[in-house]
Amino acid sequence: MTHQAHDNSYVSYLDYKGKHSGIWAWLLSTDHKRIGLMYLTGIMLFFVAGMSLGFVMKTEMLSRGETLVDAQTYNALFTLHGVIMIFLVIIPGIPAAFGNFFLPIQIGAKDVSFPRLNLFSFWLYMAGGVVALSSLFLQGGPIDTGWTFYVPYSLRTNTNVSLALLAAFLLGFSSILTGLNFITTVHRLRAPGMGFFRMPLFIWALYSTAWIQVIATPVIGITIVLVIVERLFSIGIFDPALGGDPILFQHLFWIYSHPAVYIMILPAMGVVSEIIPTFAKRTIFGYKAIAFSSLAIAFIGYFVWAHHMFTSGMSDLARIIFSLFTFLVAIPSGVKVFNWVATLYKGSIEPRVPFLFVMMFIFLFSIGGLTGLVLGNLATNIHTHGTYFVVAHFHYVMFGGTVIILFGALHYWFPKMFGRMYNEKVATVSVILIFIGFNGLYFTMFILGYMGMPRRYWDYLPEYQLLHTISAIGAYILIAGILLMLHNLWKALRKGPKAVQNPWGGVTLEWTVPSPPPLENFDEIPIITHGPYEFPEAKGVK
């Protein structure tokens, strides 16, 4: 290990020697920090894999006709890209990696409630990843249904749909267990004095997310199982030839998959609520409003699923109701954005790297959110449905929202997790590259979609050429930025300068323990006497 040189007064979780040695010291560890780190490694690897697929797709779209791959391969590419990015990157993303690492520390606990269950979730995650990837190479070939697995096509195609579905099932199970663990931990293991309203907002976000994981995921679980069973035994439930109704599949699918977008975004919003007070040196504005808006999103998020199906066939009344709820769910998100901005007002802002990511997030996510209203509106939905407009929209919210904050969280907590610091100048350059590349890549897609470019096509008409070229160039800049960022972090991991305990002047509990934290986080469980974001500087002003 590279971390031998710390002062000898404590053993960090990285150096700790347990019963097992070598790789098993990690793979069999029940320490929440090691598990978090393993998740992080897996997630980053899968992200790079998904990004490479995106790279191939954009290169294919660089010019008309067959540039790099044929049509069937393109189908497989976007499906795999979607499956990897959704099920293996952003759903586990922040909760599994940073949640595992920081949830116990931020509430002053030594670990989660069920450490072994936690390890089991991680194994399920790895098993899901392996099954998903093996579906690529086994007979039958990579799936081509799109990440949504819509029936009846997913019943008819000869590709490895069952394997990919099994992977999704395992990943869902892993997600349920993590959620269950987090809820119990928040209820049972808060340090003395830490009432619910003294919890950091990241914990509130994780707590709301955990509820969604527990409530929504089983529904997709059973749906997936039924599709597998349908393929094996033709029971007819989703097969129109036997009397089944494919629309019911869509309903069940989105009953999970829409709340799932809040599984993706809520933890990111939690991280934002951590980073902003730290770099504005001010207590968060509207703590309770932000906390409750997380719960509100978790709740209203259940009643909007059918907005993915406005053109699938539904009564007008149902469409109007779902459209209304779709508008309503935007309110709590808006509440958060205004509270964040209000926190910055008159703060002493230090625009360090994590903060830059947050700024980028607010910008990109606002665009994503506002274009969501265009899609949520019945009339405009008819025009933009199934076009690149949708592709641009969900990349703005998922990538510009969650993944950007995943990067931000990585830069915020990197010194804490590894006890080393990265080069901030290089990191800033990568932030700028990512920002430019991102907008080049996806903003053009809004225009393309508005002009009528359909999604999931591998070819296009000549009038779209210019915008597709700009979009591809944007993709290259974006990917360059991400690679630069990863390289910078990798270098810091190997030989970055030692990080101090509290490089940003944060006040939540993780900054009161050494970097990297010792095995059991705290020598003595802290006693909490005040809210999470009380800065000494700010008190002095009063």
Partner: protein, 229 residues
Amino acid sequence: MREATYNEQVTDGTMNIKETNPISHAVSEPHPHVHRDDIGSKLGMWLFLFTEILLFGGLFILYMAYRFQYSEAFHIAARDLNVNIGTLNTIILLTSSLTMALSIAAIQKGKRILSMTLIASTIAFAAAFMVNKYFEWGAKFAHGIYPGSSHLLEKEKGEIIFFGLYYSMTGLHGIHVMVGIILLSIMFVSVWRGKTNPDKFIILENSGLYWHLVDLIWIFLFPLFYLIH
């Protein structure tokens, strides 16, 4: 009083000292602090049961939607099911829930052998349920009523769906019964070895909760498939 009974029962030497001594635990495990939280475990179990209900909930929604769409055909198809076997199985499962609850009460009172007997009878009931199920499904198969069979495909679409739902819902429930059998066998050994004892019976309680859920789901499946005509 309670202590004494308990101690008598664990003197057979099978009790693992290391398990109960936090200090010796500390040296060998990567997790020095041994943390026990019965309320936490129960909370976790309730959450898990909640996910189970939602898992079946998806199927119940499908049942509802299709019953609405094909009420006529459902009506006809349900006549093919054997109400007697269904009723018998209901009685079996209800009784097994009783023995399960009693086994927990027994261990709380320190009556180890009684508790083991009750767990064993719960397992026996569960096995009887599965045997019945086997004959029931077997008879259906013999009549050519199974997913994808040519006989079934000749029938009306609603009937195909009815049997599709019947097989998936009772099948999933059957899998849960089998998991229950495994779980209860582990519990049997655990009580036998003294790992589950009057001071520490939370796992047995949680297994009991699971078993009651399996029972409860059947209570809904039974009328929906066998009784409503």
